[in-house]
Symmetry: C2
Subunit: 420 residues, 2 copies
């Protein structure tokens, strides 16, 4: 669909700024490599600060490097309305994952300045530190500490592959702020993000009204059999850990499909993404495997059912192949619903702007999911080509970015001006 006319935000300026940030860590294949707490991250942060100040904001940095660009409201007693996302990327990331939410927020601030609008409540645009988790192994790091989900001292002691700690990384780029990192009183937070999935594109809808995030359960699994000679060991004498693992992979898939496998909107997710085989020699029957299993579902009850069903079925697969299974739950989060009032503001904005929209649950983790544990929060999704993200080929059309930004503008403005 074409961009609507007579709407406040400037789509061309938004796009130009997106492309300007995409040059910071830009890759030959058109992607972005702006890993957290590197010099590219610093350059992105520096530009963010300058552009926010040019739009009339005051920028603060907290002790985790989270950046808050504040635009004053009319009523100094009112709590700020937050919006934002993250400027860090995956090693072979795209131009939009995270950056869209931050730069669209900047466009909201610029539009407010252009139109000389003074909102009742202050507005703060946030750049959360290290959403991707690809360097120090802890995703949504800045928002996790802000929300009290992760302790700051432990997070700051995490190290990357070269032994550099988060604390050292923050100091190295000069982004250890004076403000303690903790949830301060705020009225709401809105995050615009690419969907990172195929649903909006498949349905031709430019706006996703995100009602919350899925429940998740993650396991680490180890199957132990007996490695033996591929040429001399007959079927009846095998304890093939990889064969048992293949059957467990099928069980993970089958459990996902119990929630449907014919519709793009089916809610189940079940994935084995990482697998190691031992001894991993072409002519040795594998005696051991290690792998990761994760399930996601909007329903806490369904995840609870899977938490008992899957281990039983997986253990049966191992036993049927003369192997044993060790299954360790390593991560479990309940479904995180977003705030009904904030979600309603997003829905109303899309309707008023005439954008086809659908309610949906986020399959991915986002800063907003952590922030939602502390303050009223909602998210807006825009489509991305082929549902692709964490990939240099990640792609969004200008009119899609603009539509998301228009909805963000409307929702934030409505929240900041609401009658208390």
């Amino acid at each position: 669909m074409p961009a609507l006319t007579n709407q406040p935000v400037d789509g061309a300026r938004l796009w130009e700024t997106l492309m300007r940030f995409a040059q910071i860590g830009g890759t030959e294949k058109g992607g972005v490599k702006r890993i957290t707490l590197t010099d590219e991250d610093r350059r992105g942060r520096d530009l963010f600060r300058v552009l926010c100040e040019q739009a009339g904001c005051t920028v603060r940095v907290d002790s985790m490097g989270n950046m808050f660009a504040r635009r004053a409201g009319r009523d100094p007693a009112r709590l700020p309305v937050l919006m934002g996302s993250h400027l860090d990327s995956q090693p072979t990331g795209g131009k939009f994952d995270g950056a869209l939410g931050v730069i669209a927020g900047l466009e909201v601030l610029r539009t407010l300045a252009d139109l000389d609008i003074v909102t009742e409540a202050p507005i703060e645009l946030v750049n959360w530190t290290d959403e991707e988790g690809c360097r120090f192994g802890r995703a949504m790091m800045g928002s996790a500490v802000w929300s009290g989900i992760q302790p700051e001292d432990k997070v700051k002691a995490l190290t990357d592959g070269d032994g550099v700690s988060v604390a050292e990384g923050l100091a190295a780029i000069g982004y250890v702020g004076a403000q303690p990192c903790a949830a301060f009183p705020a009225d709401a937070m809105f995050e615009l993000h690419i969907e990172q999935g195929p649903i909006l594109e498949a349905e031709g809808k430019p706006i996703g009204i995100v009602t919350g995030a899925q429940a998740q359960i993650w396991f680490e699994a180890e199957v132990t059999g007996q490695d033996s000679h591929a040429g001399t060991t007959p079927a009846i004498a095998r304890h093939d850990a990889l064969l048992a693992t293949a059957r467990i992979i099928e069980v993970v898939d089958a459990i996902m499909r119990e929630d449907g496998d014919t519709n793009i909107a089916d809610p189940g997710r079940g994935t084995v993404g990482r697998l190691a085989v031992f001894p991993n020699s072409p002519n040795v029957i594998p005696g051991r495997t290690k792998f990761n299993v994760e399930f996601r579902n909007p329903s806490d009850a369904r995840i609870a059912a899977i938490a008992t069903d899957f281990p039983q079925r997986a253990a049966a697969c191992a036993a049927a192949n003369g192997c044993t299974l060790t299954l360790t739950p390593v991560f479990r989060v309940p479904a995180q619903p977003f705030d009904a009032d904030c979600v309603a503001l997003v829905e109303q904005a899309a309707a008023r702007l005439g954008y086809p929209a659908r309610k949906m649950v986020s399959g991915a983790g986002h800063d907003a999911v952590y922030v939602a544990t502390k303050i009223p929060t909602a998210m807006i999704f825009t489509p991305c080509k082929d549902g692709l993200s964490h990939n240099e080929a990640e792609s969004v059309e200008q009119f899609e970015a603009e539509a998301g930004c228009q909805v963000l503008f409307e929702a934030v403005l409505a929240r900041a001006n609401r009658v208390l």
Copy 2:
């Protein structure tokens, strides 16, 4: 079963010598690390040479480092009868894989000397270079060049992980012999080896009469799907390369079981031993896998059928999961039958000695399998505990080693004294 009495070979001396060699590269866990062309290999070779000379033999070395210890016969015109195996081991190998065949051959030579037996034909005990293939990636290296299966110049140019070539390795340990490495006229070859499988132990038989080696076909496989976000991608939109691979692993297993899966003697073998997953991240649906598939069967016709059946069924697994499969045949050998007369000598020896025995096909590769392409050849198997080999826990009982050595003695003596 206990060792039989009144038999020629000295079981205690055999065992003592096995344990003496096991100290060269002996590991804390009771295994052996005597990798080809290392200083441990050199020490094993030096001891082999000394003990053979003490038994009255003349030792020659060929240009591949293969060692031949010759005991003269009565008739200098007769071709020698060979026996032997290999003294090199896997990095975490056992005391018997290879060493048993060489040291039992030494015991045969010692016994002939003790009893002042002069055979009609000369007898030569061989220590083949690098049977294991774990350092330079080419198994049965010495016997392959001897048999003309591998060209010597190419094999000598192979390098290990540190860039050291076979030629350099041979020179470094001083085992580049004057004799060209090529099949010289010989009457026969007998190799005693541990079974490396569970059949003899399961049936309580101390002797395997090996009638030949299996046919084999090996593939390299690559499945390509689309990596995508585990949380946002619904079942219908997935192109999960690991799920497709799991189904192919099941097909490999099913094809093996078509030749039976209820009996220890079932002939089918089908194995996926090595698998790599990309990008191999816990929360990314794998977009690509690479793995190795091998099938073995005593029947060339069965392997031919698998060569057409398996690619079709595997491709269907990939297609059913929205993926594509590339399957490259990388290795194929026909079944290698052993010489009927030599096999009969092994069978007759076991019968005369009163050892329960069974005919069987070797599932593993051996020097004898290559040598059999040039001269009449047979093998004798002894049981090993739990069918385990390529493992520091590899274990053989003294009476089992002795029984194998008795049969080797009888078969070699019969061949060397046969009426031409």
